[in-house]
């Protein structure tokens, strides 16, 4: 496989952003191009991820493309997925040997609507979506299942909430009323508007653009069944398989940036992947505190790369998820070494 690295990233998250998507993305895209000194005409491929259902507009990404300034025309693609999958499409393009540099970006602006309800439209439109089950409620069903099966405990959820910083201590956690039984507010995400842009480069070019490139040593993604009655909700086979395929277990990791917007998902995924619970090795900006649909996954990859640039870690895992109850999962292993 051709060696590809993340050489620059810029991101922004706020609970409610007044800027529109183009205004949000222009400074971020400009920042990564300036940091690497690359003009858009020198970038081989551009790929983005976003959702029309957040923008409330068909072809919304066409408008946002203005933030790139595609004049003259560019080689470009878009996925209706979290930007982590745009990064995957780009990584594949690198493997074809036809590009040496790429721009990847994604964004989400859920604040104009009620994301809790919007997410209901992602469910099976014939049997489930007409009931309008909201995101917290279906996650609560999964949490209840896990509790009753003895796979997790409320103590673990409370510990996770403290670790993520949604409460200061466990007493505070247990003082909260349940929001969607058994979940409390501290178990559930605060949605945020935000975006992320990054530059990728192939071996030979990456070293020119970045002092310590964050090399993608493995990347893979898998999807599970959508249907709650078909899936075993106490396990995430797609995450385990993607982690194995991405080479997670080939060596120790120093840091894991996982895209878990609920405590119950954090606890479950860590068990599934055998990830350490040591707080020093946990995400600093836990997605529970700022979940930006369509960008959170790519943001995790950006954070995992930053840890390598800052020499806080040498081998990191970034994870992205999509779909209800972590149905689809992507794993990206980064390293300061080419391996």
């Amino acid at each position: 496989m051709r060696k590809v690295a993340i050489v620059s990233a810029a991101s922004r998250q706020e609970e409610k952003m007044l800027d529109n998507e183009v205004e949000m993305m222009v400074p971020l895209i400009s920042e990564v191009r300036e940091e690497t000194g690359l003009d858009q005409t020198e970038i081989g491929f551009t790929c983005s991820g976003s959702s029309d259902f957040l923008a409330g507009q068909a072809f919304s990404f066409v408008m946002t493309l203005d933030a790139v300034g595609p004049v003259p025309p560019i080689s470009e693609s878009h996925v209706e997925m979290d930007g982590a999958w745009a990064l995957y499409e780009t990584w594949v393009k690198f493997q074809m040997g036809v590009i040496d540099t790429a721009l990847v970006y994604s964004y989400g602006k859920p604040s104009p609507g009620s994301l809790q309800d919007v997410l209901s439209t992602q469910l099976d439109p014939y049997y489930v979506a007409p009931l309008w089950p909201d995101a917290h409620s279906i996650t609560a069903l999964q949490a209840r299942h896990l509790l009753e099966k003895g796979e997790i405990s409320t103590e673990e959820l409370a510990d996770c909430a403290v670790r993520a910083g949604t409460v200061e201590n466990k007493e505070q956690y247990f003082d909260q009323p349940t929001l969607a039984d058994p979940l409390r507010q501290a178990d559930c995400p605060t949605y945020a508007d935000g975006g992320v842009a990054m530059i990728l480069a192939a071996e030979g070019k990456a070293e020119e653009l970045c002092e310590k490139p964050a090399w993608i040593t493995g990347i893979d993604h898998r999807i599970d069944s959508h249907h709650f009655g078909v899936r075993d909700l106490s396990t995430i086979p797609s995450a385990k398989k993607a982690a194995e395929k991405a080479g997670l277990y080939k060596a120790e990791i120093d840091l894991a940036e996982i895209h878990t917007a609920y405590t119950v998902h954090d606890v479950l995924l860590r068990k599934e992947l055998n990830l350490p619970l040591n707080p020093a090795k946990s995400s600093k900006n836990h997605p529970i505190k700022a979940e930006t649909l369509m960008a959170s996954g790519l943001l995790r990859i950006a954070e995992a790369a930053r840890a390598i640039w800052n020499e806080e870690a040498n081998r990191t895992l970034a994870h992205a998820t999509s779909g209800p109850l972590m149905q689809q999962n992507l794993m990206c292993v980064l390293s300061g070494e080419k391996e």
Binding site: M1, N20, S51, D52, F53, G56, Q57, A58, F59, F61, V62, M63, L65, D66, G69, P70, V71, P72, P73, I74, S75, E76, S77, H78, V79, E80, M81, W85, Y88, E89, V92, K93, Q95, M96, G97, V98, V118, L119, T121, Q122, L123, P125, Y126, A129, H221, R222, I223, D224, S225, H226, H227, V230, P237, S238, K241, S322, G323, P324, Q327, Q328
Partner: protein, 390 residues
């Protein structure tokens, strides 16, 4: 010359019957119908597939957010990688190219790609006209958007008024040879096309595409797998380009992104004279006049000569030397998200000699083309009966 990376070929093609309402199937049923046909054509089973790449146009067309999430199971994707592409109207073409890239890159050996739209689930005109703060809503639909651009083409080239009607009549005649086509109008006459109501001057009702339900699928494999097939369609080139919707000096009739995408494509395929070297092309023509416009932009003729090709009958399956849209084209079937992939898949069928009644005799090299947005997104490929030479 080739597309880059390892060789890849199409060994399976499947399409559904296209119609205004496929009320007999659900969304999973629709995509599965096309996918099963593609697998059967490829002589493969679901477990032979390594990854699935899905494409479709805006989610508002069905009212399901990121529908690939619930459709994965119907496409045998559980436990596999699944991608969802969305690049406006060009999406069917882009999706095929992303699927091909998974093989060109050496990441996978056998990839299933599916593009679809079930427009009857929602209302496309509503979906395209959702009001946005601080934006002028033209509520004109695609026809209203493209008609001034067509008028500009007519002014620039002094094309006769009825060229568009000739294209529409030709494509509806072609559609009669394609059992999957949505519009089958055996009694349609040229005069009826001319006399049909003017919708967006100069576009008449009969010069527009229908709204369709439908899906198209392909199985794309690496060289080793392709050599097991009796008639693979080898991918010789693939290119995508995008440009901004609006900027000073933008040539909307012949966009720079279109010209540069075509130039890249011909270069990859080692083609210097497309008119001579391409035997048949499936070009994205949702409004009749886009046939002569794209013929010029793609380099099949000089600028200003596209309408002359149409007038001469060169683009007709019956007797033309550059048959265009032998399947009936977008003008006869338009499940939007799938329309680009249908073009790509029809090109593959032609070089595999499997296009049935609308087969161009001896076709060895074919082009598939799709565009989207305000004529600003482009996806194209060239497929051939022969393996590309490097």
């Amino acid at each position: 010359m080739a597309a880059g990376g390892e060789l890849a070929a199409v060994v399976g093609v499947g399409m559904t019957k296209f119609s205004a309402t496929r009320g007999d199937v659900s969304m999973p049923g629709l995509v599965r119908e096309a996918a099963e046909r593609a697998l059967k054509d490829a002589e493969m089973e679901w477990e032979d597939i390594d990854a699935v790449v899905m494409g479709k146009a805006p989610d508002f067309f069905e009212g399901v957010m990121m529908p690939e999430i619930f459709l994965g199971e119907a496409l045998g994707a559980v436990g596999k990688p699944m991608l969802r592409v969305h690049t406006a109207g060009s999406v069917g073409g882009s999706t095929a190219l992303v699927a091909a890239s998974l093989v060109h890159s050496g990441v996978h050996e056998r990839v299933l790609t599916v593009a679809w739209e079930k427009q009857s689930e929602s209302n496309a005109m509503w979906a395209l006209s959702l009001k946005q703060p601080f934006q002028v809503s033209i509520n004109a639909g695609a026809g209203g958007y493209f008609s001034p651009i067509i008028r500009q083409y007519m002014e620039e080239t002094q094309a006769p008024e009825l060229i568009g009607c000739m294209v529409a009549f030709k494509d509806r005649q072609h559609a009669l040879l394609n059992p999957y086509a949505h519009l089958h109008q055996p009694d349609l006459t040229f005069d009826q096309v001319v006399e049909s109501p003017m919708l967006w001057e100069p576009i008449r009702y009969s010069e527009t595409c229908p709204s369709s339900d439908g899906a198209a699928a392909m199985v794309i494999v690496n060289e080793t797998e392709a050599e097991k097939s009796m008639n693979p369609a080898w991918i010789h080139a693939g290119a995508m380009r995008s440009e901004a919707n609006n900027f000073p000096g933008r040539d909307e009739v012949n966009p720079q992104a279109s010209r540069e995408c075509a130039a890249d494509l011909w270069n990859q395929a080692g083609i210097t004279n497309p008119r001579e070297e391409i035997d048949v092309a499936e070009i994205y023509v949702p409004f009749s006049w886009y046939e002569p416009m794209w013929l010029e932009s793609l380099g099949f003729c000089e600028r200003g000569d596209g309408w002359k090709l149409v007038e001469s009958g060169a683009t007709h399956l019956n007797g033309g030397d550059l048959p265009i849209n032998c399947s009936g084209g977008v003008l006869s079937s338009n499940p939007i998200g799938a329309s680009g992939m249908i073009r790509f898949a029809e090109a593959a069928l032609q070089v595999r000699g499997m296009a049935g009644e609308h087969q161009v005799d001896g076709a060895r090299k074919a082009m598939g083309h799709a565009y989207g947005g305000g004529a600003q997104y482009f996806a194209m490929w060239v497929v051939g009966k022969d393996k590309p030479t490097s």
